[in-house]
Amino acid sequence: MDPRVAAAWALLPDYLGQHVLVSASSLVLGLAVSLPLAVAASRSAALRWPTLAAASLVQTIPGLALLALFYPLLLALSALSRTLFGHGFAALGFLPSLLALSLYSMLPILRNGVAGLTGVDPAVVEAAKGVGMTDRQRLFTVELPLAAPVIMAGVRTAAVWTIGAATLATPVGQTSLGNYIFSGLQTENWVFVLFGCAASAGLALIADQLLGLIESGLAKRRRWRVATGAIGLAIGTLVALTPLVGVGGGQARYTIGAKNFTEQYILADLIADRLEAEGAVVSRKDDLGSSIAYDALKAGEIDAYVDYSGTLWANVLKRTDNPGRAAVLAELTRTLKARDGVVVLGSLGFEDAYALAMRRSQAEALHIRTLDDLAAHAGQLTLGADLEFLSRPEWRSVREAYGLAFKRQVQYQPTFMYRALESGQVDVISAFSSDGRIAADDLVLLADPRQALPPYDAVLLVSPKRAADPKLVAALRPLVGAISLTEMQRANLSVDRDKASPAQAAKILATQLDQQVGARLH
């Protein structure tokens, strides 16, 4: 078997289990809310329009945005609850996914519920009243049974939507089959992307078929069909959830975070391997958005991750000045500890700076070496940026410092940003200096003589909760100052272009570290 397929299979029990957990819970919650709402809306015309309009409105919000919006909301609620009741809750992962996906599942259930209930033959309703049924008795013995096939059809649609949308829960920290897709996209591992799509589609198809069996059983009054569908769903759910049970009883459990790019996956794997070697149980939250990762660490939802000094400087401290590499690091260490209780354990030893990059051939043809040179030509050039660069404060300061005005600006997922530069669709990109593709694609990084961009030392951060955890600190301390830029670039390239998995790259990096330690000892 292809090693990438084997790697995908190995992850399936966890990803599938989590995916089933979050989509099944969301569906149950969505059903529990929308069914009573559908009953109320079917009985009151005044309630019907606003309810359906609200549900339709939710549906128009892109799934990813809806998931993302629940994070700050829950974070604020968690902070409120901490002030009021002394303890907060996890604003990342399961909860925002559950709420967003439940909301998402409501429209088809509501719409079909109202249609089914208002569609019951008025003569039958009249007869139910005529024999002396109360409203409740009429609902349960006549209206719901008669509307059941239509309602079930809505549940079916909701299930398919929810299972599909659950792949988008990955960026808010909920493991799902989307992990294949997001990390595959990032590392150009198309086997993973395809595997994730197929697994999610297969799951949706199976759920749809089983619910369809229940639906037709209700419509044709075949009890065995309803029973077969229900039992199939129950068994399927239980089997999928089994791998999630009984993980990490008693042992210390650590959660390592990673943002959504290759270097982050490799470093998170490196940290996780070291902790596991110490006998700890480690779980991962991958593909976190840039500011989500820091907030999650502050809140203790992840215990450690790697961030970059310039990113924290600009986005967390909101600073735009540039006092130099050492001063930035020192001030960050002091302020983050004092303000948020977050410990900056130290720099890993390399910088992953934002830098504008061009193809060497074009840069030489235009005689562009620095951002000052670039400013003169920018009007004829197209900038390709990653998804967040254009909204970051660093871009504002670079743009203002050099008076950069490009002909056009396009945003890409990083993998495609490099591809776009390579193919000539864009002329300049917001590159990362530790990216192996800079050397591989023969790109040049443009100098920043006005120092508009802050330094971006890769730094190890530890959550306030685990700041004094000896096992964690012992596992991480040896990484400080241990990784050179070349080593990181090579590791990144092995994943981005040579199709190694981040885990493999992390193993190779670890071996190199051990050799260095060995060499130092000799």
């Binding site: 033959d121 039958v124 309703v125 007869a127 009243k129 024999v131 002396g132 049924m133 008795q137 049974p145």
Partner: protein, 257 residues
């Protein structure tokens, strides 16, 4: 008998500006068979529904078995009154036996009692026992309305309200069913109030005919008295129709002999 079993006093029901029932008073003795006769829009159905609470009167008083209808929950009132209407409204997801058993079940009868009652009722409305397990969809129109009548009678009500009960049936079935019902009415000692727009039906079935027009009572008398003549021209015109038809039939028979 101490007073009427059903009593309406100056009952008014408005829908917006329209008074569907505009001051109707009626007093019905136990055991009588009364037809509420009128064209469409006469208010006959609305008046009927004020009796079992499916329509709440805006003004006036409705008393059933001496008690104010408005003083009790509608469902409680309706459990004591049989109700049959043109569209029948059998529960399509329940078998014939389950349909008939709904009322007794609501009243808390034991399953064995319900089963026995269903058997009796099928016999009473002249349906074969083997329809008990079928769904309503598998029955003919006439059979369905027989089940409708059986369902209305199941919890042993003293009063039956019928809204054009046989209006949707073909003439032969309709005649058979209405004669069977009239016999049941006698046999069970029921009080029946039947809404109809069909003068013939009213004449042939009822002991007393109440003619309604634009929400008011135009006439209230026995069929014989109404046929003999009435001061209101509209009532006379109404009664003329069956008379002319009967004369025509007689003439045809005489000519053919």
């Amino acid at each position: 008998m101490a007073g009427p079993i059903i009593e309406l006093k100056d009952v008014v029901k408005r829908y917006g500006a329209l008074a569907a029932v505009n001051g109707v008073s009626l007093s019905i003795e136990a055991g009588s068979f009364v037809a509420l006769l009128g064209g469409s829009g006469s208010g006959k159905t609305t008046a009927l529904k004020t009796i079992n609470g499916l329509v709440a009167a805006d003004a006036g008083e409705v008393r059933v078995e001496g008690k104010l209808a408005a003083s009790q929950p509608g469902w409680a009132l309706r459990r004591r009154i049989g109700y049959v209407f043109q569209e029948i409204g059998l529960f399509p997801h329940l078998t014939v036996a389950e349909n008939i058993g709904v009322g007794p079940k609501l009243a808390g009868w034991r399953p064995a009692e319900i089963a026995a009652r269903v058997q009796d009722l099928l016999e009473l409305v002249a349906l074969p026992q083997d329809v008990a397990g079928r769904l309503p969809g598998a029955l003919s129109g006439g059979q369905r309305q027989r089940v409708g009548v059986a369902r209305a009678l199941a919890a042993k009500p003293a009063i039956m309200l019928m809204d054009e009960p046989f209006g949707a049936l073909d003439p032969v079935t309709r005649d058979a069913l209405s004669r069977d019902y009239r016999a049941l009415h006698e046999h069970l000692g029921l009080t029946t109030l039947m809404v109809t727009h069909d003068v013939w039906e009213a004449l042939l079935l009822a002991d007393r005919i109440v003619v309604l027009s634009e929400g008011r009572v135009l006439a209230d008398a026995s069929p014989a008295v109404l046929l003999a003549g009435h001061p209101d021209a509209r009532v006379r015109a109404l009664m003329d129709t069956p008379r002319r038809q009967a004369e025509r039939v007689r003439a045809l028979e005489a000519g053919g002999a």
